[in-house]
Symmetry: C2
Subunit: 239 residues, 2 copies
């Protein structure tokens, strides 16, 4: 009876980590979604809200770290349980970074709102954000279900995100060359796009952590993923 | 005798982590240093070398992770030793990211080399890199010596890095507005600058991990650090 009780308490501790990760994931998704909404509609108040919301993820990560270390010290877990706990530490670090990226987008809302830009400028960014958020949502679903066989899909989607980012990078450079008044807002939008693209990388990190939790193996490293924007050389008119 | 032997082997395992972190740190510093040198001298071969070198850090992180988990499972450490091991996992993740940032700079060498730019363009970036590398070196020294009382200096230096980055951001925008032919190379340089600035953040993360290893406490969170570049609004001539 006593032993049963101890096991249940231990189970509860592990479940605490899983629940907390799910909550952090939902919070991070919302932050990113709202940061893009704030950018598109020049909504400074919403941007401020997103910036404030980041503290929740910092606190969440700290809580998971503290709890994870307590559980390891108290329960001395091995194998699957140990991987579960170390995995939670890794995933919460990635989710905290996703929140930072959403906050970074929100911080640029004021600078971008200053100019008058065609709506089409935002369209690419919205599409990119949608793709990155879908990927994040899917990887959090895999975390909940532990069905790692779905994880290889992640990488294909990450390739899509990289391709879309590179094309957006090129498009924004073109706007900048067309009119110097576009340079400041488009530069900020370039950084926003880069932030969104990074969310895809974090989703991939999370996928790798889940794969490790479930299988005890590192995910095979055939990961050719990278955005190609570093190669983009756009020529100014007459150059 | 047997017990002494076991303790020594355990000690050796912990020292393995410390040595590996030091090696990763040196490698990451060198990558960043060489990526900037490649950028300034348009040295494509050196840039390629840096890009290839990144695999060493990926492998280092994997090795530390695997070893850390093995040690936890085998030795069931508590308190200081457990913090040491979890700290090594965190620090190696930050160093792996620093290597990625160096690699990202190296990847842009080709695109930047395309244009003819004044040397002054690079001077700001070199100064920024020097500051970031000093900070990284200092924090790795603190890791080696465990003298956390020096850790508060880190944050002041991070503030310096952020201020220098913001001024460089503004300068690069101005070059872009002066001549549309500067837009492409300066955009890549902006991203390089951002990558270097991020190294400062990782050095701060490492400082926090060391503080935690040594004291068992989270470093007090009065961290007002942020770059102000998201607020920069540079006006084009005649705007």
């Amino acid at each position: 009876m006593q032993s049963h009780h101890i096991v249940s308490a231990y189970d509860e501790e592990l479940k605490f980590l899983t629940r907390k990760i799910a909550a952090m994931g939902g919070h991070a998704e919302r932050m990113v979604d709202q940061s893009i909404a704030a950018l598109v509609s020049s909504d400074i108040a919403l941007a401020q809200k997103v910036i404030g919301d980041d503290a929740v993820l910092d606190e969440g990560q700290r809580e998971i770290d503290d709890k994870a270390i307590l559980i390891i010290a108290k329960r001395q877990p091995v194998a699957g349980d140990l991987r579960e706990i170390i995995g939670a530490i890794r995933i919460s670090a990635d989710l905290e970074r996703v929140g930072d990226l959403g906050k970074n987008v929100a911080k640029r809302v004021v600078a971008v709102a200053e100019g008058r830009h065609p709506v089409s400028l935002f369209r690419g960014l919205q599409a990119l954000a949608e793709l990155a958020l879908t990927q994040l949502k899917e990887v959090l679903d895999v975390y909940a279900s532990r069905s790692v066989e779905r994880i290889t899909f992640m990488r294909d989607r990450d390739d899509q995100i990289d391709a879309m980012y590179t094309s957006l990078f090129r498009e924004l450079l073109t706007y900048m060359m067309e009119d110097p008044r576009n340079i400041t807002p488009c530069t900020h939008l370039l950084f926003c796009a880069k932030n969104i693209e990074r969310i895809g990388d974090h989703a991939t990190n999370i996928a790798e952590a889940i794969y490790y939790i479930v299988t005890g193996e590192q995910m095979p490293a055939d990961r050719p993923k990278e955005d190609k924007s570093h190669r983009v050389i756009a020529k100014a008119a007459g150059e």
